[in-house]
Amino acid sequence: MATAGSLKDTLKTRMGITNSESAARLEEIPEDLMTKCDNCGTLLVTKDWLRDLKVCSRCGYHARLSAPERIELLVDPDSFQEWDTSLAPRDPLHFPGYQEKRTAAQVKTHLKDSCVTGAATLEERPIAIGATDFRFMGGSMGSVFGEKVTRLLERALEEKRPAIMVISTGGARMQEGLLSLMQMAKTSAAVARLQNAGVPYIVVLTDPSTAGVQASFASLGDVIMAEPGATIGFTGARVIEQNLKIRLPKDFQSSEFQMEHGQLDLIVPRAKLKETITQFLGLLLD
């Protein structure tokens, strides 16, 4: 159990600014601050909610996590060493508004781009792990994201480290045009090499996992796990509804829907992810 001070630090520094609360306001919030579940609206004691890894104790709703949170959730404490921190995005197309949006995202997240990768251990097993951050332009995949994932997969191959990718993304980054589209091919090809070499590659899909990322390396895991209730698919439900003038059921593209349609190996609650990945790696390798 953490102290009051550390809890506030956690909220401020590590959890990012979810639930639309500003960092400034957090300073004044008393220890027993309530957090409202985005799904069922229940007011939860923030301390409990954090202990539950931002999962609503009432309805099971899994709130989104930042990339740093994702990584810390899944690796041994203090074991993470970030890779490719030098990579930073450009604006190759001089796309309207791109630089401004990105700078805002960088300020908000303390990240250079939407994907964080690195080395860590998981129950003492060396792994390569990456996570995407939905707060950073919807976790979209541009050149830096694609390059980081590719380098992660290549280094995993070289060092025979199992690779784990945790996804939360709206797809390819429009603002880098074709260069973003090419990251789909580049990352998919890198997965092929990793699999040929017999190095495990595990995908964890979280809310949301869609479009260009879902249609490339995120659908190619040896095993694909998803958190409950995540939205997983290619074309967004609203776009399909508009195009075909239809109404889609509420659970369309949910983890449970994708499970039923054969696209997932497992649905794993957040609290069980680390354990399940560890077990799977043990069953493949030990």
Partner: protein
Amino acid sequence: MLSRWLPFEKPLVEIEEQIEELKRLAARENLDLSDKVRRLEDHKRAVMEQMFAELTPWEKVQMARHPKRPYPLDYIGALCSEWLELHGDRAYGDDGAIVAGFGRFSGRAVAIVGNQKGRDTKERQERNFGQASPEGLRKAERVMELAARYGRPIISLVDTPGAACSPDAEERGISEAIAHSQLIMSQLPVPIIVVITGEGCSGGAIATALGDRVLMLEHSYYSVISPEGCASILYRDPAKAPESAEALNITAEDALRLHIIEEVIPEPLGGAHRDFGLMCKSLGATLERHLGELSQIPGPQLIEQRYARFRRLGDFEEQPSVAHPELNGNGPKEAASQLNGL
């Protein structure tokens, strides 16, 4: 006439109407107006040359979508002395949006896959406007793997507004199908030449575009998202598609500049549909040249080069290395223990 002319071609319509009028007059009055006609035709040609050399990205999109634009089966019919189309994914269905088979092209047996749109309303629906369903991509994958087994080069003709957009496609794993097709194409030990012949849009396009050479016809486009889709997101107004087309850098010249493609294949004046014979000659010669070059390269080397080709795509900078302050154990220990060890 509506279907024959695109909006920006209006000046041509006027000149052509004048020419027709003159010809009718000459015939009716038995006059020799051939000189005037010839001059008007020269004028028309000059206008066209300027017009089609300066098409805006949005005009290129319209060219790529032109209802008379040749589709893969047109090229196959013209370029191949033999053609045997294969069907089905051996699991669920046969997708009309994807054609796949073996053909003989300038004496050489090749596999060809392509997105096929329909010409009339009925065929368009049967072929789902060239938007591949999962079973279509799995059919293509099967045929490409067959080609690889027998050392046949692969030609992939891309002309799609995107992958199938429907609950059905989602249910049967359109994401998986797009991803898996790329995974497979990256490993085939035979030459793969991709030609974007019309629309090369989004995941539906890259699904079958992982080749050793990627070429574009002059008036095709290649984009991560449709201009309309981009406009909806960027300007909350699909009518701003022309601006989006500009911003997205989707023309063949853009793609060449960004090293996304190897070559732009010129089209006949006014577009591929205006002189299909000439278009085929140009496309055929280009394909032959690339096939000739690639067929010298052993399979494993092809795979390595293909990987390297896509590996280098992307534009980013490498700044001095600074780790994220929250990671690498630099953050407060208690905070780290908050999520771990629970």
